[in-house]
Structures are given as C-alpha cells and as structure tokens.
C-alpha cells in the first residue's frame, strides 16, 4: 500500500561502519618501547627477545649492504626491506621449522631466517638458478614475482598439510597493492572454505610503487577483507615486533588446531625505494611522511624496550653488525665463486625427462659450450 510508511531496509552505511570498527590496531610496544598492552604480551624468554633483536639489526645491515652492493653492480634485483623488520621477522619468529613460507619478492629476510643460505639469496638477486635450489628440509619457495600467486598456492600448501595431518602452517606475504588482486581473494576464500591452516599476511607499507593505499580500495582497513572469506582478520602495528609476533602466534595456534586461516594486516613502511631498479620515492612521498614513519622505527622501540630490561647494549649491537658484515662478505664471495650458468644447465632443469626437441637443442648447445 502506498500510504504505509516505507519499512526501513538495512542501514548499509551503519553496517559498514560497524564492520570497520572491528579492526582496531593491535599494539604492544609504543614508539618509546613501553608496553601499553600487557594482556597481549607474548611469552618470550630473555634469550628469545635478544635473538629477535639480533635478527632485526642483522637484517637492517643486510638491507644497507644489499643496496650498496646493488649500486656497485654486485647484486641485481633488490627490493629494500628497511622499516619492515618487525613485520617480516616478528612474523617469521613465530613459526616452526615445519611451517612453509611462500614469500613475495620483498620477503627474502624471512627465507634467510627460515634456513636459506645467504649466498643463495644473493644468487636469487643476481638471477642464477642455484639461488632457488632450496636446501632439503628448508620449507620455503623462492620469492614470487607474480603478485597474488603466492596466496592461492598457500591455500594449496595448507590443504596439503591438513590432509597429511601435519601440525604445521603455510604462511604467505603480500603488500597493500597485492590485496587488490583476484588471487588474493581466491586464496583466502579457498583456505576458508577448506578450513586450511594458512596465515595470510598483508604488509601494508602504504605504497604500491607510487600508488598510495587509498587508491587501492575504499576499505578503511585491509584486515576487514577477511570478512569476504568468512575468516578472522587482524590489523597490527607492523612496526612493533611483539605485536606482530603475538598476532602470528595466535593465528598459528588457531590454524594447527584445525580452526582455519587468518588474515593479518601489518601497518608498516619501507624507508627505501620500491626496488633498486630506478624507483625514486621522492616523486610520490613527502619528507614529512618519511619523518613521521622514521619515528616509528621498529629497531628504535625494541632497542629501548630491551635496554630498559637490561637485555641490550651498544656492544651487543655492534657485535651483531660486525657479524652481519662478515657473513655478507663471505656470502658474496661464495656467490662469486658459483659457476656461470650454461644453456645446457637450463635445459636440464626443464623436465624430468628431456623431450626430443629439447634433446636436439641440448646437443647443439653442448657442442657450442665445448668450444
């Protein structure tokens, strides 16, 4: 009847606000290294806390040296990591050896701390197949260049673990731009539908090359995208190693208990360019924004936190720095000593059994290589 007052349909705007409000940022350490959320504090021994700091310092040095080696032409493709240590290493620190990492192209540090030898990481950067020959027992795959592909593959790895009855998880990483890909949605949705033990991390460093996160989506958080898959989503301060560790530990526990996947958004920042292939962040980022995020440096706050507990000092830090520099020098040398690739090498790794057409080409190249 026209005279009847129109029945109120769902208040769509209110619903959206309600959803977005569910994603508050989990933080444990503030910028001053003070614990502001005692209840969420993860149980970590003094030695483990020191180990996490060592890894973060080591990785900061690795980034500085990698940029420098890249500029000297001694490394190839390199995506800087400075600023993301808490996000990358706090999350890897919560894993067990049995867990499988499917990294994006910026996620080399996680692989190294999961067992990939440093010289192989350098060979990956240079473009040598031996860099990707992951040692047996190290459960990682080489960095994925196709943004989003690692997400759908992680759903498969996790389902495989579930089918085997393994108490392990598949963990994968993408960036804020990557959350716009179809494979991002399919990956989290498949893992949800199969209740597979996967942890999906989005490292939101606010920029996909030059495109700010606001241009990726109207969604207020990336964590809320988990709602589309019907899985839990968490937003954490990605500059806070303890918050990242706590969120990933929590997700891991749910996963190995058969409760399915979790999406974790880490709010972080890359201090350097997108990659070393000519990207210039001053074209799209302001100094104010850079300064604002430098105050949030995960190393600074974790250093303060540990110093207050008497667990860290300058001497310890310098020792880590020296070790890192030595290791890097040695690894680069080892990479230098790796034999050059031949076309016949590339042919040999194509198939288990070389098909006739490739066999024919193999003979031709073998002849060329013998001259």
């Amino acid at each position: 009847m026209a005279s009847k007052s129109k029945k109120t349909v769902a208040d769509a705007v209110k619903q959206l606000e309600k959803v977005q409000d569910q994603y508050e940022t989990l933080q444990i350490l503030n910028e001053e290294g003070e614990v502001i959320n005692e209840a969420a504090m993860p149980e970590l021994s003094d030695e483990r806390l020191q180990e996490l700091m060592k890894r973060m310092v080591y990785t900061r040095i690795l980034d500085q040296r990698s940029i420098s080696l890249n500029r000297q032409g001694r490394l190839g493709f390199y995506a800087p990591t400075a600023g993301q240590e808490a996000s990358q290493l706090g999350s890897q620190f919560a894993l067990e050896k049995e867990d499988f990492i499917l990294p994006g192209y910026r996620d080399v540090p996680q692989l190294i701390w999961h067992g990939l030898p440093l010289h192989q990481a350098f060979l990956f950067s240079r473009g040598h197949f031996k860099g990707n020959q992951i040692p047996e027992g190290v459960n990682v795959i080489s960095p994925q260049i196709i943004i989003g592909a690692q997400y759908i593959q992680a759903a498969g790895v996790a389902l495989g673990m579930k089918k085997r009855g393994a108490k392990s998880v598949a963990i994968t990483y993408t960036g804020d731009g990557g959350a716009s890909q179809g494979d991002f949605y399919e990956g989290i949705n498949f893992a949800g539908a199969f209740k597979a033990p996967a942890i999906f991390i989005v490292q939101n460093n606010r920029f996909a090359i030059s495109t700010p996160v606001e241009k990726q989506s109207a969604a207020k958080t990336i964590a809320q995208k988990a709602v589309a898959a019907g899985i839990p989503g968490v937003q954490v301060d990605g500059m806070d190693p303890l918050a990242v560790y706590a969120a990933v530990s929590d997700a891991r526990e749910r996963a190995v208990n058969g409760e399915g996947p979790t999406l974790i958004e880490t709010l972080t920042y890359r201090y350097g360019p997108h990659t070393m292939a000519g990207d210039d962040p001053t074209r799209y980022r302001t100094t104010d924004l850079d300064n604002e995020w430098e105050k949030k440096d995960p190393l600074v706050r974790f250093r303060k936190f540990l110093e207050k507990k008497g667990l860290w000092n300058e001497e310890m830090e310098n020792e880590v720095i020296e070790t890192a520099k030595e290791d890097i020098k040695e690894a680069i040398k080892k990479a230098d000593d790796t034999p050059k690739q031949k076309v016949t090498d590339l042919m040999e790794i194509m198939y288990e059994e070389m098909p006739n057409h490739l066999q024919e080409q193999y003979e031709i190249y073998k002849e060329k290589e013998s001259k």
């Binding site: 759908i152 498969g156 389902l159 990956g187 949705n189 288990e352």
Partner: protein, 325 residues
C-alpha cells in the same frame, strides 16, 4: 576387454590411478558428488571418499593454485577445468607457475599435475565452451599437451599423464566423449606421451592431425581411396612435444603432406608442424604443405558451427590440391 566410450575410458583411468597411488587427488567444480558435468568422475567420490575426490569453490585460478600447493606437499593433483574456454582465468597458474616450477627451483620442486579439460565444437555449446586453445598451451615451455581421439588412447594417455612428473594438459574433445565405443582393456596400461600413431597407412599423402579432426581425416581418406589415392593419417595424440620422427618418416615416404586442425588458422599447431616439415624434409616434398583449419574469427555462435568447423569435405578438398599440385 570392455566396450567403452571415451568418457568411460577416462573415468576408468582416473579410477585406476586413484587406486594405484594414494597421492592422486581429483578436484574441480562439481566433480565430487555430482560426478562431473560430463560424468567423467562418476562414482569416484563414492569409491575413494571426499578426501581424494572433492569439489572446489568456483574459481579456476584458485583451483590452479590449489594444485600447485598440493604438489608442493607431495600430492599428485588431477584437477579439472570445467571447459577449456575458462583457461584464461588460470593462465598464470598453468603457464606462469606450474610450467616453470621445476626450472625456477632448479629441480627442487616439481608440479606433477594433470589438468583435464573438455573442449571442441560440434555439440552446440554456449559461448567460450568449445574453443580450441591448445596452441596457447603448446607455446609454454614446461608443459605437455595431450589430446586423445579414441577411448583406448584416452585411457592409456591419461594414466601416463597422471604418472608424469611434469605438468600435463589433457584436453578432451566433447564431441568424442560418447560418439563411439571401442574395446578398452580393463587392466592398466600406458601409452607414452610424445608418441604419435599412424591410424591409417598410405603412400600418396600424409595427413597430420589430432582431436576430432582425426576422424574427419580418416573419413576423407576412405573417400579418397575410392578415387585411388592412398592417404596416411597420423594422429599426434600429444601435440607438445611433437613426435617429429613419425611425421618426417611419413612425409619422406609419401612426398606430400597436410595438417588438419579444428582451431583457427592463426591458432592451433598446424603452423609449427609445417615449419618442422619444411626444415627437415623439404627435399622430399612434391608439393607445399597445406593446412585445413577454421576461419580466423571468434569461435562461431552455435547455429553457425556446421558452416564454420572444418570437416572431412574440407580435408578432401585440400588433399586434392596437394595431390594435384
């Protein structure tokens, strides 16, 4: 031996491998309780359980990723893409990922994945169901592409495909699913991948073909025989890698050749096969190698299939051009 249609032979091959190897997993859209939209997986979930034969969400890319991930955990996935026209959704998982897995990891990881998918015209399907896209796949190093034309070949080739430790794309022509029966052994047997078969021997002309065009070519050969022409028909069975030896031996014997495909002239495998013949047997050729292929338009609206799809009459017409050159 049992009389089987091609679809029954496919189900039989899947059953054989599900029994043989606990790592074999069959999954895709509606392949579980429903038994597949063409009944290719009929009864398999009932026999092997939901852990081995299961449905997925409706997302081809996700299915490809699932297969890659399961393979990384030691499984042997036999995934299905409901119609091969939907392959565009999963091109990255196939060509960008699983085809490269062994190479990009220097042999550390592999993708022993079989992708089953129906294609092919003549049955009035809606848009994007029947397109012949095997040419796209054959251009990607790292995959093998298999297209059977008989129930016997389908079973032996599918068992070989599943056992292969590299990715295989197994394309099933919809028109051949139930068009005829053939004696198929009930026990397991394999047919090597990359090996063509001479389906009919002849001495005047070689026809190289695959898929539904094998039967059109055989029919044409019969007609031509009535006119005194002896035509050899080679069914490639695997289009990548090509069985060059069988093709060249035949061309050297007959001195004349043509390639017959259902795909558009600018697609498919014909151009590649002709190039190989030109490089390897030009001195044996009495005439240029001609092609039978579809027009270079989008796959036809279903009512136009009969005037668009190549058939035995086109084969006869082109064969005469080659024979009378």
């Amino acid at each position: 031996m049992a009389q089987m249609t091609m679809i029954q032979a496919i189900t039989d091959a899947l059953r054989t491998e599900l029994r043989n190897d606990p790592n074999v997993l069959v999954f895709g859209e509606d392949v579980g309780v429903n038994g597949g939209v063409f009944r290719a997986t009929e009864g398999l979930q009932k026999e092997f359980g939901e852990e081995r034969v299961f449905d997925t969400p409706l997302a081809e890319s996700g299915i490809g990723g699932l297969a890659i991930g399961l393979a990384l955990q030691g499984y042997r996935p036999a995934m299905e893409i409901q119609f091969f026209g939907f392959v565009y959704e999963v091109m990255d998982s196939i060509s960008g990922q699983m085809a490269r897995m062994r190479y990009r990891s220097g042999g550390r990881y592999t993708s022993p994945i079989t992708i089953r998918s129906p294609f092919g015209g003549g049955v009035h399907t809606p848009e994007m169901h029947a397109d012949s896209l095997e040419g796209l796949m054959a251009q990607q190093p790292g995959v093998k592409v298999v297209i059977p034309s008989t129930p016997y070949d389908a079973k032996g080739l599918l068992i070989s495909s599943i056992r292969d430790n590299d990715p295989v794309i197994f394309l099933e022509h919809m028109k051949l699913y139930r068009s005829f029966r053939q004696e198929v052994p009930e026990e397991e047997y394999t047919i090597p991948l990359g090996k063509a078969e001479v389906k009919r021997e002849g001495s005047d002309l070689t026809i190289v073909t695959y898929g539904a065009m094998v039967h059109e070519s055989l029919k044409a050969a019969e007609e031509l025989e009535k006119e005194g022409q002896s035509v050899e028909v080679i069914d490639l069975r695997t289009i990548m890698p090509l069985d060059i030896d069988t093709i060249i031996a035949s061309v050297e014997k007959t001195g004349r050749a043509m390639v017959v495909q259902e795909a558009q002239r600018q697609a498919g495998m014909a151009a590649h096969i002709i190039a190989e013949i030109n490089e390897r047997a030009i001195l044996s050729l009495e005439a240029p190698v001609l092609r039978v292929a579809a027009p270079d338009t989008v796959f036809p609206f279903s009512q136009a299939e009969s005037v668009w799809l190549p058939n035995y009459k086109d084969v006869i017409e082109t064969a005469k051009k080659v024979l009378e050159f």
